[in-house]
Symmetry: D2
């Protein structure tokens, strides 16, 4: 018998993730903020033979589902979708496992887990890395917090969307793991921006230099992927500045609670904040390079 | 006919580099600060059938050499070795190419090039990345500045010591390229230190986390190699803090001249400076993690 | 006829402020979290001839009052005290002016103002600077946001507690002004800490140096007052690290919304966060000096 | 009998300092890089009845002088003026005291002292604070390093130029004290820039705000003087960015040697470096405000 999966949130990440689930043969019940969008999505996939039903509300999408996946912008939406008046908790049977793939504060995740568990609903915080590309290719990494039992139940679903599922501890631990990821991602971005800003001013041949740098101790995903885009002046978002900033704000609050000073991550948060002020919040994070250029550009 | 190569500086990097040249069959003339050390080195390699002669002074090592390689701590030594009273310029014939693999200021490299060129001696600034491991395995990356003709003459020698030889422009350009490398390396180090300091305080399982992080956008050489060492509390130097600091001091001076603000690299320079003050200048750069731990450790 | 003033919050700042109002002859109705504390306070002042009544709840303290002053830790308390089930809005007559001297987010202040104005109650956000000393001596500075009419009504009350009342604009503007104050205060603190940490390591005679520094362009309130305490190793709180941190968290959120990068203030927030992690949140902010010492202290 | 004073360096600071000495009745022997400038200076003052002689070279200016004062851009000039082929050491008699008011590295000062003392010439490093205004008004602060005996000999001369003479220890100690001054001055500047950048974006009335801020814990010389200039968009140099940067470069090198991390001062050095890159090195340091504005200005 095929597993029934509820899926809430068909955005940049959610839509391709749900598509992979549909292709893998799960019976899907989808819901998203705009009901019309859910209907179009369901129709499209049914046209390709998948078993997908559009639901008006999260509660409906959770009805009869063994696993419910959500992929949403921030904590208020996650709370509304699962605990609100027409939230999944109203539709889900005891024993259901909710997997939230949004990046939110660890304590928000724990609080939601506690409230769902009162109704016998399991909750995993399972934020992802890998970006839209990873979502499309089913190559995401899941940072998972929650009970091992809940994870075992949800694993077949996650395994279709990602190739690495890392269980990091109880509720909130997934978000903490993602926080570590975001700290490193943010500071690596500054590393590449400072390096390439210097290289440009020094008049070095960028292509040869990039090749030499990626061969050694300076290499990083940020250098390979974002560095390349910087060199091509391609500032379209793979990961938008405003999303990085939302995540860094969460991380910096968490770090203060945990008692970890993060001067480099805080610096990057401030620099990206200048880009938001410039109206570039929708640009990809690699636009950080332009701030270094702007700071030092000769006066008109 | 075998190429004769002069080699000056048999330190952590120089010794394995010279060893690779000897093994490859070049005729080597070596010199280093402590004459005894050069003699022992020559004897050891002759014992394995190599053709190596120890020389008292750089001038002697340069005599008859087509290519002279140097690998030294900083600019004053490079100047002394090549331009001093018993420097290579006193022994080298016109047409010789000097390849300096030290990391020094770009303008120092250019100044030395200019003075050697007056005597018809070619000069390449060719600082390396890849560390002692790369030096031993012949896997270094060379960032090369100088004339294309000089590089062609030296290429067979470099090709034995490294697997990537990147020509970045005229004299000084190699040092500028290495500066870019060091900026990125330094800031990536902070990225990993902040991320793992947070992870520890959050009580996350470090091995699983490291595996998840390296699979995605947070990955870097620093995370893979230095992050692993941090987790193992292995602070032995692959690249010592004091060397990173020497390089960053050069980089920050260069950046100011070029007109590039480097707030993140400057921050790392300050943090590492605290470790030097602690007496940890000889530790590997991965010891930066301990500063984050120290800053936040509960008061006794 | 004497003005009736409701006063909520008899903490470190509130108690001396209320004492000054009682001395000035206002008829006071006081309330604070612990009812017993309000009773003791009222009794003490009545013993000196003042007209003070203790009330169980904010609503009661506001009854019959022309002006209500509150002095509380953070936004949740301010909301509860004024808008809660037994908040001042339940006791205050239309035409009353509420003056909140707490430091909270500008948007929280505006939101509270809007809700009180629905009931015809005026609201001024009027955070103060000057510390406990200023509160005791009636020497506070008030940063005021709200209507000019409300300020005119409250002015006789404020004039007793402070010697400078600066009207900066509509609701929220007082908090914005205080934010500017806190940015400068925080970064000046780092200035003094870095300077004196250097001076100590350089072995300079601290008293003569302090005198020379305060005579010129390096001078600041922070140098005069906090610098002196640092030299005396007096880390008792005039302004506690945890309060500075609460304020900086508000400021940094505001700055991101307004579009102002604050790298120096963000750095100080991170450094103070290390002291919180050390368990020194209750120390005075001048303890920042010890972090610089700790970072660089020789390894045991 | 009137003291004979040699004076080398008639720049922005030196000229008004020398003028005060002439007015006080010392017999002056002046020399500066451009001989013509020294002659014009001497003529001008003789016209007012002062006893001033222009000399072609420092050696000549030192001849017969009991005290020699120098006021120069940086260490190379100080070395040349005192130790060069026509330096003061060639003209000064044993027992002369040289007072150098330039801001240079502490170890440069110590080295010069050692070499002069071989010839029986005393040396004080006596960098000043107070700016051109202090130089004109005779209100400078001297940070003095060197022997107490030398200081006693020079004191009558210094007392005419400044109103505070602080002896901080042996040779180099004056420079170390000045370094502390420059650390604090630089970071206070960032404090004011961040605060006022925020205030502008928040739309606060700047004059009232400035008044409120200077009344309390945010006050500093930087806020009073530089903050005022920022508000008036007056970026003319009292203290030029390029001079602040020269001093900060010295300070940061010293701090690394002493083992003091200075993350905030290093940040300011990087930000000012962007202004140098913009071609604003001759502007006053208060132009730092414009960098914050530039970073966040909406994209065209």
């Amino acid at each position: 018998m095929r597993l029934v999966v509820g899926f809430i949130g068909l955005g940049t990440m959610g839509a391709p993730m749900a598509r992979n689930l549909a292709r893998a043969g799960f019976k899907l019940r989808v819901s998203t903020r705009t009901a019309e969008k859910a209907r179009a999505f369901a129709e499209e996939l049914r046209g390709r033979g998948a078993d997908v039903e559009a639901c008006e509300e999260p509660a409906a999408a959770a009805r009869g589902a063994e696993v419910v996946v959500s992929c949403l912008p921030d904590a208020p939406q996650v709370e509304e979708v699962h605990l609100g008046a027409s939230g999944t908790a109203r539709g889900a049977a005891a024993g259901t496992v909710v997997v939230d793939c949004s990046t939110i504060a660890p304590e928000s995740a724990s609080a939601i887990a506690t409230r769902l568990e009162r109704d016998g609903i399991g909750f995993l915080d399972a934020p992802v890395s890998g970006g839209q590309k990873g979502a499309i290719e089913g190559g995401l990494t899941f940072f998972v917090g929650g009970s091992a039992a809940a994870l075992e139940k949800a694993r077949p679903v996650l395994a279709v969307m990602g190739k690495r599922i890392t269980h990091l501890g109880p509720s909130g631990a997934g978000q903490l793991g993602k926080a570590v990821n975001q700290i490193i991602v943010a500071v690596n971005l500054a590393a590449v921006s400072e390096g390439l800003a210097f290289a440009q001013k020094a008049g070095l041949p960028m292509d040869s230099l990039h090749e030499a740098l990626t061969a050694g101790a300076a290499n990083s995903w940020a250098l390979e992927v974002l560095g390349k885009k910087m060199m091509q002046r391609d500032f379209k978002p793979a990961f938008a500045i405003k999303h990085q900033q939302k995540d860094l704000a969460i991380v910096l609050r968490s770090a203060r609670e945990k008692g970890v000073p993060l001067p480099a991550a805080a610096l990057v948060h401030q620099l990206l904040s200048a880009l938001e002020a410039q109206g570039r919040g929708e640009d990809g994070t690699q636009a950080l390079l332009t701030l270094y250029e702007k700071m030092a550009e000769p006066r008109a």
